[in-house]
Symmetry: C3
Subunit: 309 residues, 3 copies
């Protein structure tokens, strides 16, 4: 199996076999998890082009490259660049590609931006989020966090809670989970923020699901509780945000009656939806997601660049 030279545009491009292959490769990078730097990417330069801010993703990719021994060429802030002069994405990508970077990591507000970039670039392109749908390495790190915990994903009960309608994570995680067998998803949200029909249509032959309004109604069933932020900027007005944000907050008492080995995940940053008091419970895994994200991205980059060792 090889991912060498592959563009990573959509999570749908991966087979289950490839995903599990990447998880095993990531597990081999145990030294990165301890903070050691490998030298396998010496002399490799990865362009990091973010057309919208996303600290966590940018730093995670940057750290992955540096821990492999490579370096990044950071495009910098878009407002200060030639893009502000009206340059097209195709021209920007062709320029960067012309500098002969080894890989392009692209974040862009428009759906399809990464696919377009991949058409114009000789270097492989990794989609680090474009528009409201695709962010394949986020899905990869979410699944990897579950897999690392349970050693499998089949047969698990996963609760996804918060803004399921406007958030990107709930739908992309649903697609990701549909690669596996006998997964059940509990969609936990108020009606107004429930998962969209189009998502359910895509996954319903692969997973079982239930839409519920209250965490208590499923807490005893869950292996994973994935909490997401209710994003003010996705909601039609601030009043709706104020009304909803309080209702879906996870605290230690929300977890009463849960399974012994339940894990709580969150893509971060969190605001009020996940109480800091959960951090010290044995269920918290959201900070470990950060290092998992760095490690799985390193594994992916290593495979795409065909690096040995």
């Amino acid at each position: 199996m090889t991912l060498k030279g592959r563009d990573i545009i959509s999570f749908f491009d991966f087979s289950r076999e490839e995903v599990e292959y990447l998880f095993r490769r990531a597990d081999e990078l145990e030294s990165l998890r301890r903070g050691e730097t490998l030298n396998v990417a010496n002399g490799k330069i990865v362009a990091v082009i973010f057309f919208e801010p996303s600290t966590r993703t940018r730093l995670s990719f940057t750290m992955a490259v540096k821990r492999l021994g490579g370096d990044v060429l950071d495009f910098g802030e878009v407002q200060r660049t030639s893009v502000a002069k009206g340059e097209t994405l195709a021209d920007t990508i062709k320029m960067i590609d012309g500098y002969k970077v080894d890989l392009i990591v692209l974040r862009h507000p428009s759906e399809g931006a990464s696919k377009l970039a991949a058409e114009f670039a000789e270097a492989p392109v990794i989609n680090a989020g474009d528009g409201s749908r695709e962010h394949p390495t986020q899905t990869l790190l979410d699944l990897y966090t579950i897999w690392r915990e349970f050693k499998h994903i089949d047969n698990l009960n996963i609760g996804i809670m918060g803004d399921l309608k406007y958030g990107r994570t709930p739908s992309s995680l649903s697609y990701g989970l549909s690669l596996f067998s006998n997964v059940k998803i509990y969609y936990i949200a108020p009606e107004i923020l429930q998962i969209r029909e189009e998502v359910l249509e895509m996954v319903e032959r692969k997973i079982r699901y239930e839409k519920i309004e209250k965490l208590q109604d499923a807490i005893n069933e869950l292996d994973v509780l994935y909490v997401t932020r209710i994003q003010k900027e996705r909601l039609p007005n601030p009043e709706e945000y104020e009304k909803l944000k309080g209702l879906y907050t996870v605290t230690p008492s929300s977890l009463e009656g849960c399974k012994e080995n339940l894990i709580v995940m969150h893509p971060l940053p969190r605001v009020t939806e996940l109480s800091p008091e959960v951090d010290s419970t044995k269920h918290a895994r959201y900070f470990q997601q950060a290092v998992n994200g760095m490690v799985i991205r390193a594994a992916l980059i290593k495979e795409i660049l065909g690096l040995e060792g």
Copy 2:
């Protein structure tokens, strides 16, 4: 011949011999063109100080340094720096120079800024554009792109089109071409944007030239067509910009009747003055200018730092 330790402030500081020497050195860096990293600049740190944004130039220099095996110290955005507190350029430069960087690459909105910086810095200084006149490495990469194509620059017919009055490239390219023999320049622009008299006075003993209004009147004579952007910010008012920008747009049909081996160049970013349909013609060379820019800058840095190998 050595450029070791030299400040590169003005293109006029170069002799024809030095320019051609750099072209040959750049051709030897073929491995950079293929995306390999050399180790000749290991441990060298180049300060990249941009007082105004210029993505292309900043990334090109940064990539050149990294591909040589060195690293950069990026000053960051000026609005967020001590400069915003009222610090003088001399003080900023002395501070950076005090960190013992190996080379300073400076972009500044004021004419003479690089010369001033060179007076205060022990490290060599490369002018990456100061004010509206000098940007020596841009001229170098433009000439290198022509030289790489034709193996000579003497005797060529060069069309320069667009905003010849307010743009920096047309005048600096004219000066650059005046180092060579028997070059003819066609200045293609509306009267209001024609090349300034002071430029013609400086080059008229070295080159032949003709001012024309329409590309068609010279297209069959040209070896090179250098298209430039009509920059809104240089024009007295937006109406003038709207009126002019449409008139000087190059499309495949504009090139009808051209020489077989005509090359079309553009400093990029482009907006509307150069149609993307030209990209797939055999004449397009503007994206190759990007990699040429990185390579010739690497060659220059290698010479200034006196690096072997």
Copy 3:
């Protein structure tokens, strides 16, 4: 003596022995002062997290890391990060720490931020300025500059001039000097900007001091004149700033009657309080503070990371 793994939150955490130990370690890094790069920190990655701009400090730490052979992970501008989405400092630090950086350098506008960060991070934390009080490496570099000049700090007469009330440097330098014996400080400022009582209370058993209004009254006694900026942003209104800034300006004639080996220091950036004409006198040391800052920070990082060679 070892500083390995230590958090550097407050200058008070250092003993006199540790400070002098660091000065000697810094002196051994003579090669950094000449612009050579060591390889002792190869593979080490230092997170540089600045929640408020401070070019000089950021570049100085970055350069220190790179000259040791390590690399930095720069958090970037806060406005463009997850912090702007309402993330707490604790979460930001846990995220960065999760990437397994080797060291965190933190600048933050709030007092106590570094202490909080150190509680949440496994990696050691260096306070690069938090709030209006602590900036331990600034104090270290100020003292190191004096020590390097005189080979001792005991028994010196130090004038500190400018905004002693609102500035951070005058108070932290006072604390720093109180580690040594028989130091006398002349506080030179208008009454409205004189040193705060709380500072005097902390240092009065350790140092002798005198509050004066005019530099002339002490210039013949001083071994060191430390000039500071009157910071507009710290003053209640712009009129007060305009009135005061002219009164406390050091020129060559201000130095008449001074000791032969007086040194003039300034944390930089300067505006009008220190005339550029002083630069060419034998007394100026403020640009040497820059390289001293880089070198002492390199020495500190080297010790904290436990690097050999």
